[in-house]
Symmetry: C2
Subunit: 215 residues, 2 copies
């Protein structure tokens, strides 16, 4: 069996073990057994538990971002692109709960260098969503001057909401990828659409000087 | 000086050190020096680095949830309550960046029992927002039957978006609490308002059978 195939089997076993048991509790013995190989072979191919975990994070981050990108057809209208991207995201996290647990939970709860690996994926997703919102605003010819910082903030909010919902959907029996995506579209799209129409939400009037007290 | 006052000084120094250096790199020597006490006194009062970190998480979680609750006046309209609660949240996280770093980053990146402490605070915030949405829907007499699971999902999305934005606002020079709260209201309120009006976002029609393939 070629090395690349064996390595993928080891990574499959490792993602399942890390995702279900947690990074600390997972043992290399268990991973080797689940992969159907000897422990020395795991060390020979992946070097250490830390390197194996890093390889898992990288693979799961790559397959997740690829799934989202593959789900979106750039020629379609903006709300359709967002809907398709969210469904691809929630379908992938639902079908790969151990991989999502590795990315969202395990990689962030065991310090560096793992947290940085996830931060890189997160920045890529935020940049992708930012671009989607910018293009949507431009296509609509409505508010081409939506400030860059405002768009960045919206993308950060959307990605944070999606991460939070994916963890909740996987922990809540009966919530489908489609339902999670619908919840987020209900939550997000009307607001984005209003913004692009030039109708932002208006904060209530403040008594004079009140705003100065805020940070 | 009474023990309670000394302990608060130690916690102040610990939150600053853990927040800025990270849990692993922070030393008890540094914390004691910053608090102006001897290291044996820190151990006498707080027992261990782990217990000190847990005490920091609990205090920062309590002051954050108290700040949000104190910012909201239950007699006001729903969008005003949400706006006030978000401003209180972002004002608190901006004024206490080290405390927010402890809660959002440090407590989640160093395993148990710390991650569980933050999960408890998170559940409380989600329950608070859920209640806010339920009351808003009921007050509006528009959609009193907004399904419980849908409301729970919306609250999970809102809290995830707020956490994500708070981290971004603290890392991005010049983003104020008011701007972060406005971004999230722009993002969230129009969608929630539409839902309560009985106008959800509609997914595009699917070819027959397409939905069955999803999880």
């Amino acid at each position: 069996m070629p090395r690349a195939v064996r390595e993928q089997q080891m990574l499959d076993a490792a993602v399942r073990t890390f995702g279900q048991r947690g990074y600390m509790a997972a043992s290399m013995d268990e991973i080797a057994e689940l992969a159907g190989v000897s422990k020395p072979l795991v060390y020979l191919y992946l070097n250490s538990k830390e390197d194996l975990f890093t390889a898992c994070i990288r693979r799961e981050a790559r397959t997740l971002t690829e799934a989202v990108r593959a789900g979106v057809e750039p020629a379609l209208p903006a709300d359709r692109q967002l809907w398709d991207g969210l469904r691809a995201f929630f379908t992938h996290t639902a079908q790969n709960p151990d991989g999502w647990s590795v990315l969202h939970l395990q990689a962030r709860t065991h310090g560096e260098p793992f947290a940085t690996e996830v931060a890189v994926m997160r920045e890529e997703l935020v940049a992708f969503v930012t671009q989607l919102i910018v293009v949507a605003a431009r296509e609509a010819h409505r508010n081409p001057s939506l400030p860059e910082r405002e768009v960045a903030g919206l993308a950060v909010a959307l990605v944070g909401a999606a991460e939070s919902l994916a963890a909740w959907a996987n922990a809540t029996p009966g919530v489908t990828a489609r339902q999670a995506a619908t919840t987020l579209m209900n939550f997000a799209w009307a607001g984005l659409d209003n913004l692009m129409e030039g109708n932002p939400w208006s904060p209530p009037a403040e008594p004079p000087g009140a705003a100065d007290k805020e940070t």
